[in-house]
Symmetry: C2
Subunit: 324 residues, 2 copies
């Protein structure tokens, strides 16, 4: 049984030995650059850990693990272009470092490369694996569209938001776990339970991301605090605050989220002030706990010995900053 550290090291090695450089270099240099930016490699790690949990051979799933990370990075590359984000992991985004056309085409190529990785190693469950991957990809696109719609939509509900982050974030984590289980030829029932656990954990992960953006320590999380507020993003925090606010607070929030001041310090301070009055931090933490517990319970219900679940649980705990 591999430990979390061993799985993470395996993922790291997979990317170290993989070269993305080929001709024409104008197309593949940005791909290599994007994949060299690193990141937590969370999706391939979850994929391999899920395979391992069911006693599968992670060597068979290795190229799919690379594929899912290539796909994830493709979505980031195109999202950065659509959002006009200047930086990704502290480095210039592809459309800024090269240009928009290069960003479009190298992203498209990465999507095709993701399938090349999936197809590199055939498997008896390939139909289910590829259908899971493809339906996940379509769902992620749907989620990105809902996210863009929300920018100009004034009446976004918390339910709308949860649906959007389920598509944009949670289904890719859940899909990675399901694919790992498919490589291990787990039972349909266990795969379904694991997938639902992945959804809960993915939602918790996104809410935590929202929370850290407002309350995180920039030194610890590497992100500037308050960027979502600055960018008027309708996060869970904002929507929860709107829901719980009195009419004066509501008006202030709506007004502030319709402005983009040159110097956003004051705006961020006022918004967080309202969040504090409404105990938003605690309320979001409660929701994260609830989703995390839901995920844990589902994993507990999976029909493999408790000791086989340790690694996957450990990775999820790390992800959500929990003590094991």
């Amino acid at each position: 049984m591999k430990t979390a550290k061993e799985i993470q090291d395996t993922v790291k090695e997979l990317f170290e030995k993989e070269s993305f450089i080929q001709q024409p270099k104008e197309l593949y240099d940005p791909i290599d650059y994007t994949l060299a930016l690193g990141g937590k490699r969370l999706r391939p790690t979850l994929l391999l850990a899920s395979c391992e949990m069911f006693g599968g051979d992670i060597c068979l799933a290795a190229s799919a693990a690379v594929g899912i990370e290539v796909f994830h990075n493709f979505t980031l590359l195109h999202d950065d272009l659509m959002d006009k984000s200047p930086l990704r992991r502290g480095k210039e985004t592809v459309y800024r470092r090269w240009n928009e056309n290069i960003a479009i085409l190298s992203g498209d190529t990465m999507f095709a490369l993701a399938y090349r990785y999936f197809l590199r190693q055939w498997h008896p469950n390939m139909e289910a694996i590829l259908k899971t991957f493809t339906e996940t990809a379509i769902g992620v696109c749907d989620g990105q569209q809902y996210d863009m719609n929300f920018e100009s939509q004034s009446d976004v509900s918390i339910a709308d938001y949860m649906k959007m982050i389920e598509l944009k974030t949670a289904i890719l984590l859940a899909g990675a776990m399901k694919i790992g289980a498919l490589y291990a030829e787990a039972s349909e029932k266990d795969i379904d339970t694991l997938y639902r656990a992945g959804i809960s954990i993915g939602l918790a992960f996104q809410l935590q991301d929202d929370l850290l953006d407002a309350y995180g320590d920039v030194a610890v999380f590497g992100k500037q605090t308050g960027t979502d507020i600055k960018d008027n993003k309708k996060t869970y925090l904002y929507l929860k605050a709107l829901q719980d606010a009195d009419s004066t607070q509501q008006q202030t929030l709506r007004q502030l989220f319709a402005t983009t001041p040159e110097n956003p310090e004051e705006k961020i301070k006022t918004v967080i002030g309202i969040y504090n009055q409404l105990n938003i931090k605690q309320k979001v933490e409660q929701e994260i706990d609830r989703l995390f517990d839901e995920g844990q319970k589902l994993i507990n219900a999976i029909s493999v010995g408790e000791e086989r679940k340790t690694t996957l649980k450990q990775i999820i705990n790390q992800l959500l900053g929990r003590k094991i």
Copy 2:
């Protein structure tokens, strides 16, 4: 044995009964719009005709035929955005009618939908089918990059150009034919021969497109004559003319292809004048004939009865405006 007309009608029906409308409509309306623009549906027609030639059941290949057309339309959608083309088949392009982000994301979604169609109907040859499709998609992206590179590259050779159009155009026609043959479980040797025929025919098809742009009748071909010259596109005609020109003609051509006059009539007239002096039309026609004959010979070498080849040959003849 189905006739060319029957295959074309089958393809038409496939698209008539297929709905691309779903939620979120901001994402799927542009997809439905793009696929409703029509066009010759050449790639699915070649796919089904190739399947039919080898006695395969075209019902099994029907959803792959839809998939390859969805993929082709995705490439057009992103190409139009990259090239900033205002019109496609006489209608506004997606990025103009909606916006750039919608064009990026609906294109991405179409690429994923193409795989959904391929995966809808499983087949014993699925590994080869999906690998062929995926490698073709990567090649088409490579070809588009070379095409973009050529815009700023002064020393493009005819060989460079042929390599580019092989990737950008010919491999998708050849790939469609190969996939059709894979559905019919043709022999490896026949599939390889058919693929090579598809490459020759695809190259001939692109050279004919280049030729029609300079010499076509706008009433017949629906395209404005001379747009490649206006846009300074380094087509086969231009490169062949440069190769055969004396130093004065070369200088004139190079100078004219470095300008974009408000009113391009005079420029187009001068360039076509030089093409005429150098017999470029005849030389390109010769090359198209050579490629067409090469394709015909390869199809003749395929180990099925002559009568089974009639439909595919007829489609290719129509495509290249030949009498059968």
